[in-house]
């Protein structure tokens, strides 16, 4: 390749401030094989793109380097521009002189010298590149949705309505997630279950949805459009087809444990249904709580079960599915209350978390909607709500804002005032973050018309005194110390990532951010995609969100999945391995190294590549003893040339 063009972008002042782009262009014009160089203010803008197209035509360029931002930003843009000018897009390379240079250095001379070296390496790379055509591959047209909360339900419904089959996997015995636990939703005070349960029913009855509850994704292999998924369906020990929901088993079961759905406020039996509207509507025998699955150990439930629905011999069932796209909607968990020792979390029974208070407010909750405190069942006459419990506290707890707590605390205080008209509600807050449709009005209404006392300041200590809970805090607006004797303290506890995120991120090969939420491909422009093609994110799995946001993101993720599934063929990168048959010794080391089974030694005793399976990692290239295996456009020879110019003096 002998007619290479180099385009150096100023990116406004982003690059130009620390890199002398003219000097970069001038130096590169001396470099062997480079016939055209220029610098320009914004190459990604329309006139910049036109400049590149015109230069390719005018100077008959057979390779170009765009020295600009990270290839993660604009590699597709500039490769498209090259193609528009008739240049094979794989003969366009991006030199990252912004993220890796101008933004991280301050000395203009040093940054300019480094930028020159970076651009030179890409010139050498493009010199060794060959024109490639993308591979076109078939794909499966099913979608896997992981998580059956409101986010997963919405995503599953949207994909199913578009005509594609959905496998909806939920870890718990019922779908519904946290939204099923809520009493009412802010700011409209809709009954949460009333708006959720129709969707639960719809998704469970949808002809395109296969619902797998009490199930977990244990293995995912493959690649975009062609994922092989292994799901473990855990045994419920109850046949849902036979169970008639008589509930006799629950009456005789001798073992009780804290109810997860009621957040430990009451107990459930070892055989249980999480809540009345649970879907599927069937009982589950919790094998960890059960006295023993062996009929000789207890078997009280089986004895009374008339339809003989209980089967102690049920075993985990492994289900394998091929899917084209995956939507991850694992939701959130709460920051452990016992970590908030300064607030008596986990030690004082009348210090509870927000979800527990939801259950106390809920008409279907353990107190039938009467607000009664856990310790003695009395109606609390003074309730203190503490916001940012575990949030916005980088020294001790989570640094981030959990986003939903300001609003749900307002809702809690308001619903409490409605339930206990002579009760006093006090809210400690740092700021009130009420961004959202109708949110600010909702908060203002609560403060002004519902006689809720908002105190701006942090609580330093909560302790028990006789049967009351004493809250020490400070009112920073009047600069006074405040001491309140309350009957109940409700912590607006921080949202944590779902504990399954970490394991799942490894199974799916997607990333978690520093806080443990799933990482999106781009925080602003690709918020519903993961960095792995074909895997999308929905709801609080990606970061703290309220219901409307989770639902919107789910519909967004569904559209992304549907866009992929609707395609006739998917494009697969042609930057895959090729074997030089003349020097391949047929040793088969590459076959063992390949994580995708893309290589095999054929009858002629040389390795053969299945290009569609090859993901281009290059494990085989590094291990090939003869150098016969090479990644197209990333050959060892190319790297050696790149290294040489990177290290050249001057």
């Amino acid at each position: 390749m002998s007619r290479i063009g180099v385009f150096v972008c100023h990116c406004g002042m982003n690059i130009e401030r620390t890199v002398d782009t003219q000097a970069v262009a001038a130096t590169l014009s001396e470099h062997s094989g480079v016939v055209f160089t220029t610098d320009y203010n914004f190459l990604c803008a329309d006139p910049g793109q036109r400049l590149i197209r015109d230069a390719i035509a005018e100077h008959k360029l057979d390779g170009i380097i765009v020295a600009a931002c990270s290839p993660a930003m604009h590699e597709p843009t500039f490769r498209r521009v090259a193609a528009e000018a008739g240049l094979n897009p794989y003969l366009c390379e991006i030199a990252n002189i912004r993220e890796h240079c101008s933004w991280v250095h301050q000395d203009r001379d040093k940054a300019t010298q480094k930028a020159i070296r970076i651009v030179k390496t890409l010139v050498e790379k493009v010199r060794g590149n060959q024109p490639l055509e993308p591979l076109r591959i078939d794909h499966d047209d099913k979608c896997l949705v992981i998580g059956g909360g409101i986010a997963g339900i919405q995503a599953a419904l949207d994909v199913a309505e578009s005509g594609f089959e959905v496998i909806l996997v939920e870890k718990e015995p019922s779908i519904g997630g946290h939204m099923a636990q809520l009493s009412e939703t802010f700011p409209t005070l809709d009954c949460s279950q009333c708006i959720l349960t129709p969707k639960m029913v719809e998704v469970s009855r949808h002809p395109n949805v296969r619902l797998l509850t009490y199930s977990e994704v244990v293995e995912v292999t493959g690649y975009v459009g062609n994922y092989e998924v292994k799901i473990r369906k855990n045994p419920t020990y109850v046949d849902p087809d036979k169970c008639n929901l008589c509930g006799e088993c629950v009456k005789v079961c001798p073992k009780s444990v804290g109810s997860e759905f009621e957040r430990g406020l009451v107990e459930r039996k070892a055989i249980y249904i999480p809540f009345e509207q649970a879907i599927p509507s069937s009982y589950t025998l919790d094998e960890e709580a059960c006295l023993g699955l062996h009929p000789l150990r207890c078997s009280e439930c089986a004895k009374v079960c008339e339809p003989k629905a209980i089967d102690y011999d049920m075993r985990p069932e492994y289900i394998e599915e091929s899917v084209g796209a995956i939507i991850v909607a694992t939701g959130y968990s709460l920051y452990p209350i016992s970590s908030l020792t300064e607030y008596g979390g986990g030690q004082i029974p009348d210090v509870i978390d927000g979800l527990q208070f939801e259950r106390l407010l809920s008409a279907s909750g353990p107190t039938s909607g009467e607000v009664r405190r856990p310790s003695d069942g009395k109606i609390p006459k003074k309730v203190v709500f503490i916001q940012c419990a575990g949030s916005r506290d980088p020294e001790r707890h989570n640094a981030y804002c959990s986003k939903i707590c300001c609003m749900y605390t307002t809702k809690h205080a308001l619903l409490y005032r409605h339930a206990v008209p002579d009760g006093e509600a006090v809210v400690f807050y740092i700021d009130i973050r009420a961004g959202g449709k109708g949110y600010e009005e909702f908060t203002q209404h609560a403060i002004e018309e519902e006689r809720i006392l908002y105190l701006r300041g942090k609580v330093s200590k909560v302790y028990r005194q006789d049967d009351r809970v004493v809250v020490w805090g400070v009112d920073t607006l009047s600069n006074r110390r405040v001491e309140i004797e309350a009957d109940l303290v409700v912590l607006a506890i921080s949202m944590n990532p779902h504990p399954s995120n970490l394991a799942l991120s490894k199974i799916l090969k997607i990333s978690c951010d520093a806080d443990g939420f799933l990482k999106e491909a781009h925080p602003k422009l690709r918020p519903v995609e993961s960095l792995t093609a074909g895997i999308f994110l929905a709801g609080a799995a990606q970061g703290p969100k309220d219901i409307p946001e989770a639902v919107s993101q789910s519909s967004g993720a569904a559209v992304k999945a549907v866009t992929l599934l609707t395609k006739d063929k998917l494009i697969h990168s042609p930057e895959v391995v090729e074997i030089d048959e003349a020097i391949c010794g047929g040793c088969g080391i590459c076959v063992d190294m390949c994580p995708y089974n893309a290589l095999a030694v054929n009858g002629a005793g040389v390795a053969e590549v299945n290009e569609v399976l090859c993901e281009g990692c290059g494990s085989c290239v590094s291990a090939c003893p003869t150098g016969a295996a090479q990644l197209k456009n990333m050959t060892t020879q190319q790297f050696v040339e790149m290294i040489e110019v990177a290290l050249q003096d001057g």
Binding site: P71, T121, A514, M593, G618
Partner: protein
Amino acid sequence: MAKLNDNGFEPKIVAFLCRWCSYAGADLAGVSRMTYPANIIPMRVNCSGRVDAGMVMAAFEKGADGVLIGGCHPGDCHYVNGNYKTRRRVILLKRALAEVGVKPQRLHLEWISASEGVKFQRTVTEFTGLIKELGPSPMSGDGED
């Protein structure tokens, strides 16, 4: 021979960064405007497992004073297990370097995820400092280890 003057010595360092984790971590360091020494020349590889012995030895032969390899954390490799292959290869390469008289510390492997811009900055800063202390590589002609 300003290069031999320890204070003024500006080492040349080649960094092979895997596209999914460390290269993206370096991008994040950029987006977050973190600063670090300008001595490294980054090169994008699909996977740290692609970095073969030939590439590392070529870098030292052609005058690198240090080589940094950045990969995904164990268990997080985009290509299932490429980083484990790198980990083993780096152990062997360090031995090979010692045999030819190059201090094995001149080759450094670090796991840097896409969200660890701070770790990228710290790694580059510390590694550049270490190579400055070690001085020029004996393979680049005028140093001794």
